[in-house]
C-alpha cells in the first residue's frame, strides 16, 4: 500500500527534525504507541496498539531511522509483528522550509501487510493511515507550540 501525504508546520525544519529524532517525543505523539525504547543508534523497539477496521492488535517490533540527512530527510523503516499479521514499511520523510518559520513535511512510502491483517484490513487501511497521520501531525503541532516539550 502506498503511503503519501504532507503537512505544513509553523516551525523551522531543524526543530522538527530534532523532535522526530527524540524517542520520548515520538512515543508521546505517535498514535497507538505505548512504548519506544532505544536499543541502538537510530534503532528502537516499539510496542503499539492499533485498530484497523474490523481487526485490532498489539504490535511489537523495530523502528529504524536510516539515510539521515539533517535537517532535510530520513527514511523510517518499520517492522511490526502481531498475532493478527505483520506490517513492514519504508517511508521517506522530507522536510522542506517554505518560509522563515514554515516547513512542509511530506512522507512517501510503502506499507506491506500480511496475514489476517492483509485479508481483512487492507480495504480500510488507507483510511486508517490517513486518520493516524492526521493525529500524528496534530500532536506534533501541539508539541512544537509547547516550549516545555522542546528537546534539549
Amino acid at each position: 500500500m502506498h503511503l503519501k501525504g504532507s503537512h505544513q508546520f509553523n516551525a523551522p525544519a531543524h526543530q522538527i527534525f530534532k523532535m522526530l529524532m527524540d524517542a520520548d517525543t515520538l512515543a508521546r505523539i505517535t498514535p497507538g504507541v505505548s512504548e519506544l525504547e532505544e536499543t541502538g543508534p537510530d534503532t528502537y523497539k516499539a510496542i503499539a496498539n492499533v485498530k484497523m477496521g474490523p481487526v485490532s492488535g498489539s504490535f511489537s517490533g523495530q523502528l529504524e531511522v536510516a539515510e539521515k540527512q539533517e535537517p532535510e530527510s530520513f527514511v523510517l523503516k518499520i517492522q511490526q509483528n502481531s498475532k493478527i499479521g505483520n506490517v513492514a514499511a519504508d517511508v521517506k520523510i522530507d522536510l522542506e522550509e517554505t518560509g522563515a518559520e514554515t516547513t512542509t513535511l511530506s512522507f512517501d512510502g510503502k506499507a506491506r501487510l500480511s496475514g489476517l491483517l492483509a485479508r481483512t484490513g487492507q480495504r480500510v487501511l488507507s483510511g486508517v493511515a490517513n486518520t493516524l497521520s492526521k493525529q500524528f501531525f496534530k500532536a506534533l503541532e501541539e508539541e512544537l507550540e509547547n516550549p516545555a516539550h522542546q528537546p534539549a
Partner: protein, 789 residues
C-alpha cells in the same frame, strides 16, 4: 403410487436439514477428543529460520505441538495429486512434495507450519499465538503469467520458471495458423478468468481417531469423496493398511468441488491421533476457509477465432496460463487441460482448433475444480469470442451461433459427433435450445425495446451464451489414457431386506444434491415399491463397498447407473423365485408395479413376498442362493454431454456503472430428468454462482501474494436481491449410453451463465463504442471507468 421418475417429489433429506438435525463433522464429539489448531504462514513465501514452541507448550490445556520437522522426521509422504499431465516434449510433470506441515519454507499465505493440540479449541488457539517463528520473507508471485517470466520468484526450486507442465491439444498448430491466415476476420480477446473462492456454507473439518485396542483408524471428514480420500490417505500419504481405515463423510454442507480433494489436514489428524492415542478434531474457521480451501478458475488466456466472409468459423487458437497454486491438489493438472481444452469445440463445427496450456505454480493456495471445473473457462472463452465477433462483424449474435452449430444427432440413428479436441459428443440438438431461449426472451420485441431505450439514454443490453459440458465423469480407460491415476466408475449396492424394504449403498456422496430423494425415486420406480421403503446410504467406507464420490455431475449418470445394474440383478433373481412360487416358467412372467404376474392371468406374487422367500428359503428353487443383495460397478462408455442456451438482459446505470440483471433465461438439456424440482434447484444454484463470478466475486492478491479480500466484508457473494426470478426451461435429448438416459445437471447453470451476463453488459455499453474488454467481476467501478473511456 409407485411411478416416481419425472415427479417433483419433495426432498426427504430436507426434514433433518430444515429442523437443524443434520449431522455434520463438527457436530461429532468423541470420548476423550482433543482439538487441533493449525499455525499458518502469514507470508506468501518465507523461509522458516526457527520455530520456538517452548512458551506455548507450557500453556494450560496444551497436550502436544508438532511442527513440520516432526512430520518430516516421521518419514511419511506428502499429499499426492491424482492426475499426471506431462510436458509437450515428454518430460514428466513437475510434482514437488506437498508436506502435511512445511519444515523449510512456506509457499503460500496459509501454508501450515505447526499444529497445536489441546484439551479445548480455545486453549489450542491461545497457545498457537505464543509460538514464535523466525521468518525470512522471500519475494512472492501470485500471477500465473508473471510467474513464468525469467527472474520471477521460484515457488519450488525444482520447477524452473514455475512451470508444472505445458500441454497442447487439437489440430497441429501449423494447420490452425494456416487456417487463420485464410480468415476474413479474426476476433482476438485477451482476458483473465478470475480466481473465485468456493465458499461452501459448512467449512472444512476433520477428526482423526486411532483405536489402539483394535489398530483401527477412523477419519470423519467434510468430503465429497470419502473412498478416494481413504485410498490416497492409506496408499500414498501415511502407508497404513486400507482395511483398517474407515472414512466417514457424514452430512456435508456444500462443496462445489472444494471438498473433492484430499487435504493435508485429513492426514494430519490421523497422524496426530495415532501418536496421542486420542481422537483429534480440526475445524476450519471462515477466515481459514478463504485462505486454504482450493480456489477455482484463474486462467489468463489469449483466444483468437477466425471467420470467413459469411461468418463461418474457420479456426480457433488458444493460449492459456493456468494458475495451479503452490502445490498440486487432487485434480489440479486435469482441470485446465482435459476438462478445459477438450471443450473448446463448444457447439460449433470449428474445423481447426489448437489449444496450448501452461500449468503454473504460484505463491497462492491450490487451484482445483470448482463447479464446472474447466468447462466454465472454456465456455467463457468461446462465448465471449462469439458475441465479440458478432459485434465486430456487425452480425446478430444469435444468428452467428445458429449458423455455426453442429447439426442435430441422437447418438443412436446418427453417430456421436467427433470433435477436434478428443471428445465424442453423445447426442444433441443445439439449435433447439437456442431457438427456445429466443422465443422465451421475445427476441425481436426486445431489440425494438432496446433501440427505444437507447434513444432515451438508457443502457439496455442482451447477452447470449450457449455451452456444452462433459459430465458423468468418466470412462476409466479413457481417463487412464489421459493421465488419471484412478478409475472413475461408480459402485451401487442394493440390499433387499427380508420384509421387502430396500437399503441402497452408493459410492456417490450427497452434499446438497438430494441423492436420498432422486436415487430413491429410481429404486422405488424400478421395483414398484413405495418411496418410503427405500433408504439411500452413502458417505461411509465401512458400509459402502467402494466409490469415487460426487463431482463432475456424475452421481446420477454413473452412480445411478450402478444402482440400476444392481436393480436389474435383483429383478432377475426375483423372477427365478417368483417362477418357483407361481409354478410357472420364468419367461412367462412379467414384472410391473411391484409384482411378478404370469402373463395373461391374475396369478401374481408381490415383491415383498419374493424378498421374504429369499431370506426364508424353505420352499425355494434349486440352485439359487438365498438372500437378495447385489453390488455392481458401472464404468460409463463415454462422458455425457449436457448443453444449453442462456440469455441475460441487463440495464447498466449510466451514472454509477451499476449493472441490474433484469432477466435471466436458461434452456438446458440435461437428458432425462428424474426429479424436475431438484434439477430446477441445481440450475438455480449454478446460475447464482455463475452470475456471482460475472458481477461480484473474485479473489484479490496484492503484489506480495497476500490475499486481501479474505472475508465476507471484502469478498462479495451474490445475494437473493441481486438476482431476478430465473426463467428456465428444458429440452430432453436422452443420453444414449446409460440406462437412465441422464446427462447431469449440477454444473450446467454455473457453466452457461457467466459469459451471458458479461456479453449483456458489453451489449449495453455498445453506444460508448467500447472495444476493449472488461475484466470480471463487472463491478460498478470498473463499468463506470470504462464508460469514462
Amino acid at each position: 403410487m409407485t411411478n416416481y421418475i419425472g415427479k417433483a417429489v419433495k426432498r426427504v433429506e430436507d426434514k433433518r436439514f430444515l429442523t437443524g438435525k443434520g449431522r455434520y463433522t463438527d457436530d461429532i464429539v468423541l470420548p476423550g477428543m482433543l482439538y487441533a489448531y493449525i499455525v499458518r504462514s502469514p507470508y506468501a513465501h518465507a523461509k522458516i529460520n526457527n520455530i520456538d514452541t517452548s512458551r506455548a507448550e507450557n500453556m494450560d490445556g496444551v497436550v502436544k505441538i508438532y511442527t513440520g520437522k516432526d512430520i518430516a522426521e516421521s518419514g511419511i509422504n506428502g499429499i499426492p495429486t491424482g492426475w499426471q499431465v506431462n510436458f509437450k516434449n515428454g518430460d514428466t510433470m513437475k510434482e514437488p512434495p506437498h508436506p502435511l506441515l512445511v519444515a523449510d519454507k512456506a509457499r503460500y499465505m496459509g501454508d501450515g507450519v505447526a499444529v497445536v493440540i489441546a484439551e479445548s479449541r480455545e486453549e489450542a488457539r491461545d497457545a498457537a499465538d505464543e509460538i514464535d517463528i523466525d521468518w525470512e520473507e522471500l519475494p512472492a508471485v501470485a500471477n500465473a503469467k508473471k510467474a513464468t517470466e525469467d527472474g520471477a520468484p521460484l515457488v519450488h526450486d525444482e520447477a524452473p520458471n514455475n512451470k508444472c507442465f505445458d500441454w497442447e491439444l487439437g489440430n497441429p498448430k501449423e494447420e490452425v495458423d494456416k487456417a487463420m491466415k485464410q480468415a476474413h476476420h479474426i476476433t482476438t480477446l485477451e482476458f483473465t478468468n478470475q480466481r473465485v473462492i468456493p465458499n461452501a456454507m459448512e467449512t472444512r473439518a476433520a477428526i482423526g481417531q486411532y483405536e489402539e485396542a483394535t489398530g483401527k483408524y477412523t477419519l470423519y471428514t467434510t468430503s465429497q469423496n470419502p473412498h478416494l480420500t481413504r485410498l490416497l490417505l492409506c496408499a500414498f500419504v501415511l502407508g497404513i493398511p486400507e482395511h483398517r481405515v474407515r472414512v466417514v463423510a457424514p452430512d456435508v454442507g456444500g462443496g462445489f468441488g472444494s471438498k473433492i480433494f484430499h487435504y493435508a489436514e485429513e492426514a494430519l489428524m490421523i497422524w496426530c491421533s495415532e501418536r496421542l492415542k486420542r481422537p483429534v478434531k480440526w475445524t476450519s474457521d471462515r477466515s481459514e476457509a478463504f485462505m486454504t480451501d482450493a480456489h477455482g478458475r484463474d486462467h489468463i488466456s489469449k483466444a483468437e477465432m477466425g471467420f470467413d466472409k459469411e461468418g463461418n468459423v474457420l479456426a480457433l487458437r488458444v493460449k492459456t496460463h493456468a494458475n495451479l497454486g503452490a502445490y498440486l491438489s487432487t485434480f489440479a493438472p486435469c482441470v485446465p487441460t482435459w476438462l478445459h481444452g477438450t471443450l473448446l469445440q463448444g457447439l460449433y463445427v470449428t474445423p481447426k482448433i489448437n489449444v496450448d496450456v501452461t500449468g503454473v505454480f504460484t505463491n497462492t493456495v491450490m487451484v482445483d475444480a470448482y463447479r464446472g471445473a474447466g468447462r466454465p473457462e472454456a465456455t467463457y472463452l468461446l462465448e465471449r469470442l462469439m458475441d465479440t465477433a458478432a459485434l465486430e462483424m456487425d452480425m446478430d449474435p444469435a444468428e452467428l451461433r445458429l449458423k455455426n452449430f453442429i447439426p442435430p444427432f441422437d447418438g443412436v440413428e446418427q453417430p456421436g459427433y467427433q470433435t477436434q479436441v478428443a471428445l465424442q459428443y453423445d447426442s444433441g440438438n443445439y439449435h433447439a435450445v437456442l431457438k427456445r431461449a429466443l422465443e422465451m426472451v421475445g427476441y425481436e420485441k426486445f431489440r425494438k425495446e432496446q433501440a427505444q431505450a437507447r434513444k432515451e439514454g438508457k443502457l439496455l443490453g442482451i447477452g447470449f451464451s450457449t455451452y456444452i459440458e462433459a459430465c458423468g465423469i468418466a470412462p476409466s480407460a479413457v481417463v487412464g489414457a489421459l493421465g488419471a491415476r484412478a478409475g472413475l466408475y461408480e459402485v451401487g449396492q442394493v440390499r433387499v431386506q427380508p420384509t421387502g424394504k430396500v437399503s441402497v449403498f452408493t459410492g456417490a456422496h450427497s452434499h446438497g444434491q438430494g441423492h436420498e430423494t432422486t436415487f430413491a425415486q429410481v429404486v422405488a420406480d424400478r421395483l414398484g415399491i413405495p418411496l418410503d421403503d427405500v433408504e439411500i446410504i452413502h458417505g461411509d467406507s465401512d458400509s459402502v463397498a467402494f466409490g469415487m464420490g460426487t463431482y463432475g455431475s456424475r452421481s446420477l449418470a454413473v452412480g445411478g447407473s450402478a444402482i440400476v445394474k444392481s436393480l436389474d440383478k435383483i429383478i432377475e433373481k426375483g423372477a427365478k423365485i417368483a417362477a418357483h412360487k407361481l409354478e410357472a416358467a420364468e419367461e412367462d412372467l412379467e414384472f410391473a408395479e411391484g409384482k411378478w404376474t404370469v402373463k395373461g392371468t391374475d396369478k401374481s406374487i408381490a415383491f415383498g413376498d419374493v424378498a421374504l422367500t429369499a431370506y426364508v428359503p424353505h420352499d425355494y428353487p434349486e440352485g439359487v442362493e438365498p438372500g437378495m443383495d447385489f453390488s455392481s460397478f458401472y464404468d460409463p462408455a463415454n462422458f455425457t454431454y449436457p448443453y444449453g442456451a442462456h440469455v441475460a438482459i441487463v440495464e447498466v446505470d449510466k451514472d454509477t456503472g451499476y449493472t441490474k440483471l433484469k432477466r435471466f433465461i436458461a434452456v438446458d438439456d440435461v437428458g432425462n430428468v428424474i426429479n424436475p424440482m431438484i434439477v430446477d434447484g441445481q440450475i438455480h444454484g449454478g446460475l447464482a454462482q455463475g452470475i456471482g463470478q460475472a458481477l461480484f466475486e473474485g479473489a484479490m492478491y496484492d503484489e506480495d501474494a497476500q490475499l486481501i479480500n479474505g472475508s465476507y466484508m471484502d469478498y462479495t457473494m451474490p445475494r437473493a436481491d441481486d438476482l431476478p426470478s430465473f426463467e428456465i426451461d428444458r429440452t430432453v435429448t436422452p443420453c444414449p449410453h446409460n440406462p437412465l438416459g441422464v446427462k447431469g445437471a449440477g454444473e450446467a447453470g454455473c457453466i452457461g451463465s457467466t459469459p451471458a451476463v458479461v456479453n449483456a453488459v458489453m451489449d449495453a455499453l455498445r453506444p460508448f463504442g467500447i472495444k476493449k474488454d472488461l475484466e470480471m467481476p463487472l463491478t460498478p467501478e470498473r463499468v463506470w471507468r470504462h464508460m469514462q473511456g
